[in-house]
Amino acid sequence: MKMLINVAETVVADALRGMAAAHPELVVDAENRVIVRRDAPVEGKVALVSGGGSGHEPLHGGFVGPGMLDAACPGEVFTSPVPDQVVRAAAAVDSGNGVLFIVKNYTGDVLNFQMAAELAEDEGVQVASVLVNDDVAVTDSTFTAGRRGTGATLFVEKIAGAAADEGMPLERVEALARQVVASSRSFGVALSACTTPAKGSPTFDLPDGELELGVGIHGEPGRERRAMMTSREIADFTVDAILEDLDPRLPVLVLVNGMGSTPLLELYGFNAEVRRVLDERGVAVARTLVGNYVTSLDMAGCSVTLCQVDGELLRLWDAPVQTPGLRWGR
């Protein structure tokens, strides 16, 4: 497997150095692995900190900037950050108005952010946490760790970021973030496994002519394998799986997300099919975002995330944002 890297051990550090070189508006601490907007802490503003394993770019470092995150903590590839990183980030961005941690529901992320929250509170930082768990591919049961957090993380970070930008207090920003989580559902499919730099070969074996349904974003297999389907069939399957668990009488935000190595030509074609299914099911589409936002290294495939929005959520979604990975309105 050929990769544009030096050695696996320095993949994350090298990427952070390159990110720093490209984005002078960010402070990138490659040694401690914290990415902070240069003007932080912003006075009077609730701060947003997110993080998770590397390999999902632009999530989360690419979403640091005005209108979205104040800081991000990238872990090793597909491995959550350690508490020290998160505490450092929280201390760097807290203006005294509190910090919201946005955490995807994976055991490692949950445990490390929970430990970080305790440590940050010991240092006098007021912390609230919101857990993102939008993936309908995982049946919710008391026997599992619950649904995974995937594409909805982008909606939460954008909408909560806009709320914080408007000067809303921590409780209100947290409540809006929870509303986005409750209103969002996702489903992902893989046409190929991904290759982690440390392993150097695909994480699972997916023959030509087959696809995995219900994958997350960590190169793990999904719930089920089937013969390859057309874009039309995949759209029917994924949107129906989401609508089984979501009753969108309100209009929805649509995220058609690439997993890393599916070209926009295919993603736009797939979005046409997603729009067709939603039209057929009578679901109104308020806004659509198509592209690679929550990736899984070089995995081929896509995920669909829908988020029901009322007037306030839509207004916050439309608010200006200026980050490396998402930018509009200013």
Binding site: T79, V82, T107, L111, T196, A198, H218, E220
Partner: protein, 198 residues
């Protein structure tokens, strides 16, 4: 009686065995997880050895607390907090005694194992590290060698289980038929303990 030097030798042996077995752990993690458990544990225990060498703690309890803190600061994922908690809680249970008996180590580790179960919300049978830790700690009252054997068998017993916690749980029934990487690395900790006790 076991002194601080014994505990440093245990952690050093654990780092060596995790270094040797890193590829195997990653292979085990590959079909059900994200293929990084071996490398994460290798990195974490290497950091533990560096920290213990830089500032050798004076008591067995202090060795385990320092090791646990280092794992939390360097491993990431679920393994960092879970292994870190295991060793920190065990270290706290040992108190400040300059030497401890094997039985005290057993009850200290039992306290650590309880803390792991609480933190992860898991129980034996969920195909997690507890499936090696619980039998390992139980058999320590016989001997360290018996503990290592029981932990290894416990790890192997995860093969037919359906994972109910952690990333493997997202595969549902497809997680059946795979040995849990966390249980396997836990068994290696007992193997290292048996090795240094010889």
């Amino acid at each position: 009686m076991l002194d601080a030097a014994f505990f440093v030798r245990w952690m050093t042996a654990a780092a060596a065995v995790l270094d040797r077995e890193a590829d195997r752990l990653t292979e085990l993690d590959s079909p059900i997880g994200d293929a990084d458990h071996g490398r994460n544990m290798q990195r974490g225990f290497a950091a533990v050895v560096t920290a213990l060498e830089a500032e050798p703690p004076a008591t067995p309890g202090a060795v385990l607390i320092a090791a646990g803190r280092q794992l939390i600061s360097s491993v990431g994922g679920a393994s960092g907090p879970l292994y870190g908690t295991l060793l920190r809680r065990a270290g706290k249970a040992l108190g400040e005694a300059p030497q401890v008996a094997a039985e005290e180590l057993r009850s200290g580790l039992a306290a650590g194992v309880d803390a792991v179960g609480q933190l992860g919300g898991s129980a034996p049978g969920d195909a997690t590290m507890l499936d090696a830790l619980v039998p390992g700690v139980t058999e320590m009252s016989t001997s360290f060698a018996a503990a290592a054997e029981a932990a290894e068998q416990g790890a192997q017993a995860t093969v037919p289980m359906q994972a109910r916690k952690g990333r493997a749980s997202y595969l549902g029934e497809r997680s059946i038929g795979h040995q849990d990487p966390g249980a396997t690395s836990s068994a290696l900790l007992f193997a290292a303990l048996a090795e240094v006790a010889q």
